[in-house]
């Protein structure tokens, strides 16, 4: 299934952490108590080090994540996904052994094998950033309106950053240590996705895009962003 351009060999199932001892997976977490344990357990089959940034959840998300084996960093108040990502990246960078940082959504829409393939590609090709993309192949099924909005976001982001991305708002990304150090996410809420692309565009980081499969379950769909939220993202981006 994995159509990684760089590493065609499928990874054999491995004991926890064997290959990725220098990688931290950052999971921004807000009120996902029903699914987070499964997501963390799935990640821990391949990644030893998972940090969930609990962004002021009002349910048992943080405890569930901790029980499933993640380190939990707790925001005292709800700040937004962008803020949670930056906190998780800061945490990963406190570890001197960290060589790469993965960002992964808490709602279970990403696949662990995609993340693993992206980390391997980062190392094999000596990249600083690997963006996951839903649109490099046809596996991910989206409803039409969502597709139009995401495409528009891509066109806008590409115009303003000079990068040529096919998917600007995918939560699955991998950064090298240098890539992670370059990021300064200032948009606390949803505009951070474009902000990350901007900062990569302004830097001299080496980046690539990798096809990934996004699993739209009824759960992730119900938790997903409203299309109207794209207006908020645009305003936040324009006003700085």
């Amino acid at each position: 299934m994995t159509t990684s351009a760089a590493s065609p060999t499928p990874s054999p199932p491995r004991p926890a952490a064997a290959g990725f001892d220098d990688t931290w997976v950052v999971v921004p977490l807000f009120c996902e108590a029903t699914v987070i344990a499964g997501v963390v357990q799935g990640l821990r089959e391949q990644f030893a080090h998972v940090v969930c940034v609990d962004d002021g959840s009002t349910d048992a998300s943080a405890d569930e994540a901790e029980r499933a084996g993640a380190v939990v960093v707790r925001h005292a108040v709800n700040l937004g996904q962008g803020a949670a990502l930056q906190t998780g990246i800061a945490y990963a960078l406190r570890d001197p052994r960290t060589r790469s940082v993965v960002t992964f959504d808490a709602d279970g829409q990403h696949r662990v094998e995609d993340a693993a393939a992206m980390v391997r590609r980062l190392e094999d090709e000596d990249l600083d950033v690997v963006f996951g993309s839903r649109f490099l192949d046809r596996r991910t099924e989206l409803d039409r309106l969502k597709k139009v909005v995401l495409r528009a976001a891509v066109v806008y982001t590409n115009r303003t950053t000079g990068l040529r991305l096919t998917d600007a708002h995918n939560g699955l990304r991998v950064f090298s240590r240098r890539g992670a150090q370059t990021l300064r996410i200032r948009h606390n809420r949803m505009a951070h996705a474009s902000e990350i692309v901007h900062q990569v565009g302004r830097s001299d980081l080496r980046w690539a895009e990798q096809p990934v499969h996004v699993l739209y379950t009824d759960y992730s769909r119900s938790k997903g962003q409203s299309v109207l939220n794209s207006i908020n993202i645009l305003v936040e981006t324009l006003l700085g």
Partner: protein, 124 residues
């Protein structure tokens, strides 16, 4: 275009730019206060001598003094909206920094986490 239209558009743009570029410096604060002071003076004048304000309005091509005052209010309101947005953003960044620092300091360090992780989920 009427003189007042040119003037108002120019003022709206200048106020917008000044306030957007504002870095909460003393100079920008002073400019904001001067603009606000001018508005207050205009308001008081319009109460005391409505005819004088109307005369001033006529000079720039506006029918009534009350209209001139309204334009001034619109500009002041726009300035207020922009500057309070900026201030809220600034405050939010401060709160974020504080919350992040607190969160990171309270969490187990990555070294401690590595120690605990072993090779399976934590049992309690």
């Amino acid at each position: 275009m009427l003189a007042i239209q040119v003037l108002l558009i120019a003022v709206v743009l200048v106020v917008g730019i000044v306030l957007v570029r504002s870095t909460a410096g003393a100079r920008h604060q002073a400019v904001r206060r001067l603009l606000l002071g001018a508005l207050v003076a205009l308001a008081v004048a319009s109460i005391l001598v409505p005819t004088a304000v109307t005369a001033a309005a006529n000079v720039v091509g506006v029918g009534r003094g009350a209209d001139l005052l309204l334009y001034g209010l619109v500009i002041a309101f726009l300035g207020f909206v922009v500057s309070s947005y900026r201030r809220a953003r600034h405050l939010e960044e401060t709160v974020t920094e504080l919350a992040r620092r607190l969160a990171l300091d309270e969490a187990p360090t990555p070294e401690q986490a590595r120690h605990h992780e072993g090779d399976g989920p934590v049992q309690d």
